[in-house]
């Protein structure tokens, strides 16, 4: 494992004009992902994590304005001409979306959707591309791969469709894979299988991976580092075991507490986080989490906390009243 960062985000912000005013979807995010390393990004719906992934891929909506720098493999993606960017996508940079029913084209066969990626980036002929497609489908544990090539997405189950999406993403040996809520649309029983498949492939190919999810439980044991996002900003960032053992942000603590525990007594009420995320078109003067935070004090409502180091350089958090260290239940 090398220390050279494959992906470096510096001060990345995304603004969207809306009838109600400017919407700051992503606010000054700094992140790095090393080659072969996994980063988990965790946050509620609407916290900007999907917009961030689109910003990395440079696939933002037309009206969006983005700033900052996205360095991938030594190149600043914001400055690249569109043609070079297109060649990077699908090849070095791949993505798996949340819902395989809508992310796969319903009127094209599975084979077509696999083969077109291979032929576009690797310049294989049809026969070689077909063979490779069968290999890929087998690698993601899809039975009877040759038959699948001629089938349509609606003929497969949800879990299998997502495996196909993963196969497509892995087809050209990408350096970085972004998985945006890859299991949210799937049955609970299948979720673990898909996640394990992703991790297995990641380790085998020494591929960097960003795993985006709203469920803190998903990243435990599967990622090297975790970044917690809230209202468009990264509010805590640490290597995974450190985060679970020594979390500082009250928000992270609340997220962890919201995961149902298998050994909790029956009918234990789930501690949901009360309140709702702030309206992104009306940013608060103070900490964005302060209206819902049970530790909030005056300073929290008036000043925005900056990211500061905790016990080591690798653990950053943004809070004026961090929780003290000590094991938090459920880590």
């Amino acid at each position: 494992m090398n220390d050279v960062a494959l992906l470096t985000l510096e001060g990345v912000s995304v603004d969207l004009p809306t009838p109600r005013g400017n919407l700051r979807a992503v606010d000054g995010v700094d992140l790095t992902v090393g080659a072969g390393r996994t980063l988990g990004i965790v946050g509620e719906s609407g916290c900007g994590k999907t917009m961030l992934s689109r910003a990395i891929l440079q696939l933002l909506p037309k009206k969006a304005k983005h700033s900052g720098s996205v360095m991938f493999d030594g190149q600043d993606l914001l400055q690249l001409p569109p043609e070079r960017l297109r060649k990077l996508r699908g090849r070095s940079l791949a993505v798996v979306f949340q819902d395989p029913m809508t992310s796969l084209n319903p009127v094209l066969t599975i084979g077509t959707q696999l083969i077109e990626t291979l032929r576009e980036h690797l310049e294989l002929d049809l026969a070689a591309a077909e063979m490779r497609s069968v290999e890929l489908l087998a690698a993601v544990s899809i039975p009877a791969p040759e038959q699948r090539l001629k089938q349509y997405p609606h003929q497969l189950s949800g879990g299998m469709r997502q495996r196909v999406a993963i196969a497509i993403a892995l087809s050209c040996e990408p350096k970085l894979l972004i998985a945006d809520e890859p299991t949210t649309a799937l049955d609970v029983t299948i979720q673990a299988q898909i996640l394990d498949l992703l991790v297995r492939e990641q380790r085998r190919r020494h591929m960097a991976m960003i795993l985006i999810t709203h469920d803190l439980g998903v990243v435990a044991g599967r990622t090297d580092e975790v970044a917690v996002m809230y209202a468009g900003r990264v509010v805590e960032r640490a290597p995974t075991p450190v985060l679970f053992k020594k979390m500082r942000m009250p928000y992270t603590e609340a997220l962890l507490a919201a995961i149902p525990k298998i050994d909790a007594a029956p009918h234990t009420p789930l501690p949901a986080i009360s309140g709702r995320p702030p309206d992104p078109t009306r940013p608060l003067r103070g900490c964005s989490f302060s209206p819902r935070c049970r530790y909030a004090a005056r300073r929290c409502h008036q000043e925005k906390p900056a990211l500061v180091e905790a016990e080591s350089r690798e653990h950053l958090y943004a809070c004026f009243h961090p929780i003290e260290t000590g094991a938090v239940a459920g880590a």
Partner: protein, 286 residues
């Protein structure tokens, strides 16, 4: 992510909802045409039927502001009286469609069941005919007259109005205010008239305007072929048909009624389309 996408389309919808200057111009033209057609008798115009064989196809002059046609009749007067005929047919025929089609549609959408199947089925049969063919056939059998023409064009419009009314009623009948009225013991008639009708009226009105545009065109086409309004009455369509013979010598005889018709049809289409975008945002962009 989904919420963010929605906010972007909100911007586009808001832009579409402004009543642009084009729309107001269309309304202006429509009003002008109406006024002119209504007050045609009172305007200081020569009679549209007076033939002056010495002044055939004469160009613009003080006596005849837009010249004369192939039989020496004043072109301006003919245009204005032609507007009257085109507009009368154009407005009365869709009224038939609106009344009968709208009523049938509302009843079908409200009562459902076998009645609905019957209504939709018979409308399908009517729609199985290419409309112009049916219109021609009926006119051939019943003879040409203004009343016949208006009636057949009106009847041809019934299926379309039925569809619009039924679609509206189907969505509205499930809403709370209808269920509430039923719970309060309101009779069917009351619900239909008081609750549903005012809401169904809006998309029907938009469709009515579009229907007027279509009717003016169809009547124009029939009259152009000589199969529409019978002489001596003449609409824009028959004027264009007659003007066709003079294309080489005096093209304005065909083009002036053509422009008048085009502008009128365009205006009705514009206003109708804008209204439809306002009342049924899902279909707006079409």
């Amino acid at each position: 992510m989904a919420t963010l996408e929605l906010t972007i389309t909100e911007i586009e919808q808001m832009q579409a909802r402004r009543l642009g200057p084009l729309c107001w111009m269309a309304v202006g033209w429509m009003t002008f045409m109406f006024a002119v057609a209504m007050f045609a008798d009172v305007l200081p115009l020569p009679s549209p039927t007076d033939m002056d064989m010495l002044e055939r196809r004469a160009p613009t002059s003080l006596q005849h502001w837009l010249g004369t046609d192939g039989l020496g009749r004043d072109e301006l007067a003919r245009l204005i009286f032609g507007a009257r005929v085109s507009l009368v047919v154009g407005l009365c025929a869709p009224v038939i469609g609106l009344t009968f089609g709208g009523a049938l549609g509302m009843l079908a959408g409200y009562f459902r069941g076998r009645f609905e199947t019957l209504v939709v089925g018979s409308m399908d049969v009517l729609l199985a005919f290419p409309p112009l063919i049916l219109a021609l056939a009926v006119i051939a059998y019943l003879g040409q007259s203004l009343v016949n023409l208006t009636c057949i064009l009106g009847v041809l419009g019934i299926p379309a109005f039925m569809r619009v009314a039924r679609a509206s009623t189907l969505t509205l009948a499930r809403r709370e205010f209808v269920i509430a009225a039923q719970a309060l013991g309101a009779t069917h008639a009351r619900i239909l008239l008081r609750e549903l009708l005012p809401n169904v009226m809006l998309p029907l009105l938009a469709f009515f305007l579009l229907s007027v545009a279509v009717t003016i065109v169809v009547e124009g086409a029939l009259s152009f072929l000589g199969l529409g309004v019978p002489p001596p009455a003449s609409s824009w369509g028959s004027m264009i048909g007659e003007g066709r013979e003079s294309l080489e010598v005096a093209p304005r005889l065909a083009f002036m009624p053509a422009i008048a018709m085009f502008l009128t049809v365009l205006s009705f289409n514009l206003v109708g389309d804008t209204l439809r975008a306002l009342t049924d945002p899902r279909q707006g962009a079409l």
